[in-house]
């Protein structure tokens, strides 16, 4: 059915249709409407699962983990400070190999306190062992929640489905919401291991006492995260067969003949599409690479997309103080050992939801086209 939904409501609809059984939730702007919408569904009797109004994000994730280990499909959502508070439990979720799916709405981390979009909150959780999917629009957010359950329940690692504060979370877009029968056909009822079996009691998550005991656990997680790439692609393809839409771990737009490829993630990508069209109309050979999947990092797809490209400009709505934009760092490091090594220009733009317009992105492209080599430090668009 065709509907008009905000990104938050799109995620809530997907959670309902995915039949999440337990949803521990806690409010934080700008994710709160997901919680409110799910509460409304519960009150109306349309939510297949139950909600628990916990007292912190930390407890929300603690409950997600134990509920998942008991055998339930679970969901929670958060942003910014709430995600930071959860940090310990994020490691605990991936370590316990639970297929939790979490909606994350990127919001700037204090200080100063603010509410706009900034990916540093989720990117700071880079090493927690979660898969991370950055969505461009509300349709993609919806579709990715449905996909994420399927992916996570195969890989047995948790997933973050990520959208931008306000640009996606609060903006209404027309989108396609499939019916329950169609979703059930793609994503059957959860069949998770029930780890607490009275007849066959085991201890989940023992204390290990040596590195030789610890390392095999991490290695398995590492291998499975690597194998997740195959699963993500397979599920995406299957999704297309059911619903006619697919996204890829990355999406390359007009990169084949490009002299310069802009690299973006999240909602900025839709703006970049407009900028690239405009630049192409002016006769400039500019392409676009959207990075959707950040963990596992799609090194192979990025290398393929950048083959023969003269220059790359990465626009990051995030910053790692003491280094540079995080997508830029990751992209560079994935290319270093290959023979595809175009100069990579880093830009920091749009922190705290500062508008990144098509003009801003065209300006970035023009600046890079006129340069011979990148600066050591990223170029800030705004900030001084």
């Amino acid at each position: 059915m065709r509907e008009l939904l905000t990104g938050n409501y799109a995620i809530a609809e997907a959670v309902r249709l995915a039949k999440a059984q337990l949803i521990p939730a806690y409010p934080i702007t700008p994710q709160t409407p997901i919680y409110e919408k799910l509460s409304e569904m519960e009150a109306q009797g349309t939510l297949p699962g139950i909600m628990v109004r916990v007292e912190s994000e930390h407890s929300a994730m603690a409950m997600c983990i134990s509920a998942s280990l008991t055998g339930a499909r679970v969901f929670t959502a958060t942003s910014s400070q709430g995600l930071a508070l959860m940090h310990e439990m994020l490691h605990y979720a991936s370590g316990n190999r639970v297929p939790v799916v979490m909606g994350c709405v990127n919001r700037v981390l204090a200080v100063p306190w603010s509410f706009g979009s900034d990916q540093t909150d989720t990117l700071a959780q880079r090493d927690t062992g979660w898969m991370q999917f950055y969505c461009e629009d509300n349709q993609e957010a919806f579709d990715t929640v449905i996909q994420a359950y399927k992916i996570s329940e195969i890989v047995m690692l948790p997933s973050m489905v990520i959208i931008d504060a306000f640009f996606s979370s609060h903006f209404i877009e027309p989108m396609e919401v499939p019916d329950q029968v169609a979703v059930d056909r793609f994503l059957p009822k959860a069949a998770l291991p029930e780890r607490f079996d009275i007849e066959n009691p085991t201890f989940v998550s023992n204390v290990v006492t040596t590195g030789s005991q610890f390392m095999p656990f991490r290695k398995r997680g590492f291998d499975d995260m690597e194998n997740a790439k195959t699963v993500i692609k397979k599920v995406d393809k299957e999704f297309e067969e059911h619903f006619g839409r697919r996204y890829g771990m990355v999406e390359a737009v007009q990169t084949e003949d490009a002299q310069l490829v802009l690299v973006t993630s999240g909602s900025m990508t839709s703006t970049a599409r407009v900028a690239v069209d405009s630049l192409r109309n002016k006769g400039l050979k500019i392409g676009l690479l959207k990075i959707k999947t950040f963990r596992p990092f799609p090194s192979g797809e990025i290398k393929s997309a950048l083959q023969g490209v003269a220059k790359v400009a990465v626009v990051d709505r995030n910053i790692s103080l003491g280094n540079e934009g995080i997508f830029c760092q990751e992209l560079k490091s994935s290319l270093y050992n290959s023979d595809i090594r175009p100069p990579v220009y880093g830009f920091i733009a749009g922190l705290d939801g500062l508008d990144v317009s098509p003009d801003t992105l065209e300006g970035i492209a023009m600046e890079v086209m006129g340069k011979d080599e990148p600066n050591d430090l990223p170029v800030w668009i705004g900030g001084s």
Binding site: Q21, L22, P24, I50, V52, R53, V54, E55, S56, H58, S59, A60, A62, M63, C64, I65, S66, A67, L69, T70, G71, A72, E88, M89, Y92, E194, R195, F196, D197, I198, P201, T202, F203, V204, S205, N206, V207, V208, T209, Q213
Partner: protein, 292 residues
């Protein structure tokens, strides 16, 4: 038919508790009372080492090791899903130490009690962070020595039972390893009550209390008989009942057997005795007030 007289322990020997450990006695009694149909949550504490070091476990029930401040919501999460699965006959019990309960886990515990989630929370109180090597918690008694309070803790022990009662928790009880039948009766009672149940068990720690290994149970008994740690129940946060009438021994012997109180002056001991009497009177008044 299950014979009540046959003791079936849900813990194995060979666990990693220190000699003279009070915590392990309490865990064994709680699990004996709950029986096979139990899922246990353990958090970082002495009980986590006692329950499991990979690849072994001393528990005969399924168990999960959660994080330090999360015993309560972890147990509640399991309980919700067991109910969804129609396994209502399985009890969920969370074991947490005094640090995990009085300090770092208090917020999460308060949350689950507020929501009255269905499980049993057992606080194994050895009155300090013993697993990390005797650092003071807010359950450490006033004047008691620990490595982080070398001249004695300057604050009084937090009254966790009153905090639970203020939540109007359906059932809260103190229990002692010195009175095993009373302890197990309370666990069985808790198992049959809907909602959150809280058991506060004083578990003397020979290592941290600086006393001989053979004195654990005696220390537990004296804590009760001196009225320092009376055995009582609170129903719905309002109705109080004393389950064992203590003899009212002076506190001296209890203090003298523990090296952690070796530095106390006569004035401090007298003050402690006075406080015990005041608290005991308070408790008796609460029992009287609710006998209506």
């Amino acid at each position: 038919m299950e014979n009540e007289k046959v003791i079936v322990d849900m813990m194995r020997s060979g666990h990693m508790a220190c000699p003279g450990c009070g915590v392990v006695i309490a865990m064994r009694l709680v699990l004996r009372a709950l029986g096979k149909k139990t899922v246990a949550v353990i958090i970082p504490s002495c009980s986590s080492i006692i329950a499991s070091t990979y690849p072994n476990t001393s528990l005969k029930v399924p168990a999960f090791h959660g994080t330090f401040e999360s015993a309560a919501p972890t147990a509640a999460g399991i309980s919700y899903v067991l109910k969804l699965q129609g396994k209502d006959d399985i009890s969920v019990v969370a074991f947490a130490g005094d640090g995990g309960t009085f300090d770092i886990g208090l917020q999460a515990l308060s949350g689950t009690v507020d929501r009255n989630e269905h499980y049993i929370y057992v606080c194994l109180d050895n009155e300090a962070y013993m697993n990390t090597g005797i650092q003071a918690s807010s359950a450490t008694p006033e004047c008691a020595w620990t490595i982080t309070t070398p001249s004695g803790r300057p604050f009084r022990k937090k009254n966790i039972m009153e905090i639970m009662a203020a939540h109007r928790i359906p059932y809260a009880a103190t229990a002692s390893i010195g009175y095993p039948q009373d302890l197990m009766d309370k666990v069985k009672k808790a198992r049959n009550i809907q909602g959150t149940k809280f058991l506060h068990i004083l578990t003397p720690c020979a290592t941290g209390w600086r006393m001989a290994e053979g004195l654990t149970v005696k220390a537990a008994m004296l804590s009760v008989e001196t009225r320092l740690f009376p055995l009582y129940e609170v129903f719905d946060g309002r109705r109080y009942a004393i389950t064992y009438e203590p003899q009212g021994f002076p506190i001296d012997e209890y203090l003298q057997m523990q090296g952690r109180y070796g530095h106390l002056t006569q004035d401090q001991i007298a003050n402690m005795q006075t406080q015990i009497e005041v608290e005991w009177e308070n408790l008796r008044n609460k029992v009287k007030d609710c006998q209506c």
